[in-house]
């Protein structure tokens, strides 16, 4: 990354002038913090004793058998406090907000996992918290809405545009422009203007750092293959980044193909979009011929976003990471498979990553040592999936 926050030709700071001082302040605070042992010690302490890290790296033996000759480990981010990887980033950013003396916290949320993690950390540190959430997503993820409200956060329904994550992000940015002197905006993925993509990556890299240590301990070697789902791209970036220079480790990012890329109804910015500017950075996005943003479509609220982090766009073009996609139906199949073979109910987002292995395992070399980032647990999706799994009975 260069000094202006570019990964190759992707990234940057495409925001209203009002936000420039806040982004500069945040960048400075971030660099100071990560070089300050006291800050890092507090961050690590919270990850360990509050969130329960390190999360386990679990050998999924029955699932492995099902996938032919792949030896598959699951990085259990679902075991974090609040049930997903999102808390890793939130704890870092909340500690930063405290250092910058910002007492008001805002966030956008799609699946509600990022909103829930933010509401949780805000409660823990006694900060005022407002979560923007598309009305459509509030219906899809009602359980998380109740949880956030129980934790004392105000959940603000967003009724503009498609009423999903993209619109919630617009509203959060407008709030930040309006309340910039008192407020920290906790962005939930490796998206947005510089320094967010780099900063969120640094707060999520604990996933990959731990994985490396754990797999070396268990297998005595690095994995051949890493697989993760890609919405904005934070769990995947957190998993991939520490391995980027390990040339023999293949990486696969799985986007949401909704009803199928060919239908145009999907959320696959890298594999089905083109380069543009959305929410503060240049990256791959879903847009029409006039440069208007095209709504994303996916059964998974956390992947239902028409953009992707700029560093992913960079790895897409350099070829370091291979990006592919899985449809709603494939994700549901994978969801069932993980429940039945391992007794783990995954988030629908994470099920997309597994769907890639289910579909492609015949083309993967026997004996491959693979790690899949199980980014979250599925409690939040039970309502959405009910109709799909038990159509006849219910």
């Amino acid at each position: 990354m260069d000094l202006k926050g570019y990964f190759g030709r992707f990234g940057g700071r495409f925001v209203p002038e009002t936000l420039i001082p806040a982004l500069e302040e945040l960048e400075e605070a971030f660099y100071k913090a990560i070089n300050d042992e006291a800050f890092m010690a507090q961050y690590r302490y919270l990850l360990k004793d509050y969130s329960g890290r390190p999360t386990s790296l679990y050998f999924a033996d029955r699932l492995s058998k099902h996938l032919g000759d792949i030896k598959l480990y699951l990085k259990r981010e679902d075991l974090n406090h609040t049930g997903a990887h999102k808390i890793n980033n939130v704890l870092g950013q909340i500690l930063l907000a405290l250092r910058m003396n910002k007492k008001r916290i805002i966030a956008e949320t799609g699946a509600g996992q990022h909103g829930l993690a933010t509401a949780t950390a805000a409660a823990k540190f006694g900060l005022e918290c407002h979560i923007y959430m598309g009305l459509e997503d509030m219906h899809r993820q009602a359980l998380n809405v109740y949880k956030m409200r129980t934790l004392g956060a105000e959940v603000i329904p967003v009724t503009s545009g498609t009423m999903t994550l993209k619109d919630a992000t617009n509203e959060a940015i407008r709030d930040w422009v309006t309340n910039v002197s008192t407020t920290h905006y906790v962005i939930g993925s490796v998206v947005g203007p510089h320094p967010y993509p780099m900063m969120v990556r640094e707060f999520q890299r604990v996933i990959g750092d731990e994985t490396k240590e754990q797999i070396l301990q268990k297998e005595g070697r690095l994995p051949d293959l890493l697989v993760a789902c890609v919405g904005g791209g934070s769990n995947s970036m957190g998993m991939f980044y520490p391995f980027v220079n390990d040339k023999d480790v293949k990486m696969v990012g799985v986007e949401a193909a909704g009803y199928g890329i060919e239908t145009g109804q999907h959320a696959a910015a890298l594999t089905g979009g083109s380069v543009g500017v959305l929410h503060g950075s240049r990256s791959y996005i879903l847009q029409d011929g006039n440069g208007q943003i095209v709504p994303a479509v996916s059964i998974s609220a956390g992947l239902d976003y028409p953009g992707v982090g700029p560093e992913h766009s960079f790895y897409h073009e350099t070829g370091r990471v291979h990006y592919t996609h899985a449809t709603d139906d494939e994700a549901i199949e994978a969801f069932k498979l993980l429940c039945e073979t391992e007794g783990i109910i995954p988030a629908l987002e994470s099920a997309h990553a597994l769907a890639f292995l289910v579909r492609e395992h015949k083309n993967i070399e026997p004996g491959t040592l693979a790690v899949l980032c199980l980014s979250g647990r599925g409690d939040k999706d039970m309502e959405a999936i009910k109709g799909k799994l038990f159509e006849e009975e219910m």
Partner: protein, 265 residues
Amino acid sequence: MKTLNEAFDAGKILIPYIAAGDPDLDTTAEIIGELDKLGVGIIEVGMPFSDPLADGPIIQAASQRALAGGTNISRIFKMLEELRDVKTPIVLMGYFNPIMKYGEKSFIEDALSCGVSGVLIPDLPFDEGKEFYDICSEKGLCPIYMVTPNTKEERLSQIGSKARGFLYCVSLLGITGDKRGPIEGIKSYMERVRSHVSVPLALGFGIDSPDKITAVKPYVDGIVIGSAIVNIISEKADMGRKAIVNEVSVFTSALIDALRTALQP
């Protein structure tokens, strides 16, 4: 058509903003004609974007209506091309993605060829858009930069040295249509900006009445009125083009009066 510099020759000016294509481009063209006759200083023409993150609900809704009606950059250029007898300079305002998609160089060329004087892009700060803005300046399309009450001195002087035409001073920390605007300390804000900038200063965001104009006019060279006009257009939309143009005309005249009336001693 006058240049942006000439627009400020006659003293303090009004700069109305309208959302192109709301309710349709023919109405937009008629409103531009009417504003020209009334003697406004500059006309800001908004190009719709699906995700206008510096705009409040009024301009968001207008953009949605314009997009639903099929408005795009090519059609806006076509409309402007047919307005050749308008004397008031026109500045296009819009977000960067549609401009990128249109093609940055083609956008600049086509804007110039239909007589546009400047371009204002709220999500493209001066340093991020250096390449684009340098080409604009070189070809004669004025890049209109924005500054805000929290812009630091060093940045103000960098922006000041690049500014052409005029500088857009946002009246508060907020989005368009924010009723709180302008901030209390407008006098010292404008003085601070002026110490770094030699082009005329226009103030905008949240200015929606003759009273607010009277309050801020001593400190500025131009006043931008956006959401208040866009709101009138949407409220009269059902009553037809004539009613819309008429209502905008009455409101704008009152604003111009407020701007031109001598200050009470």
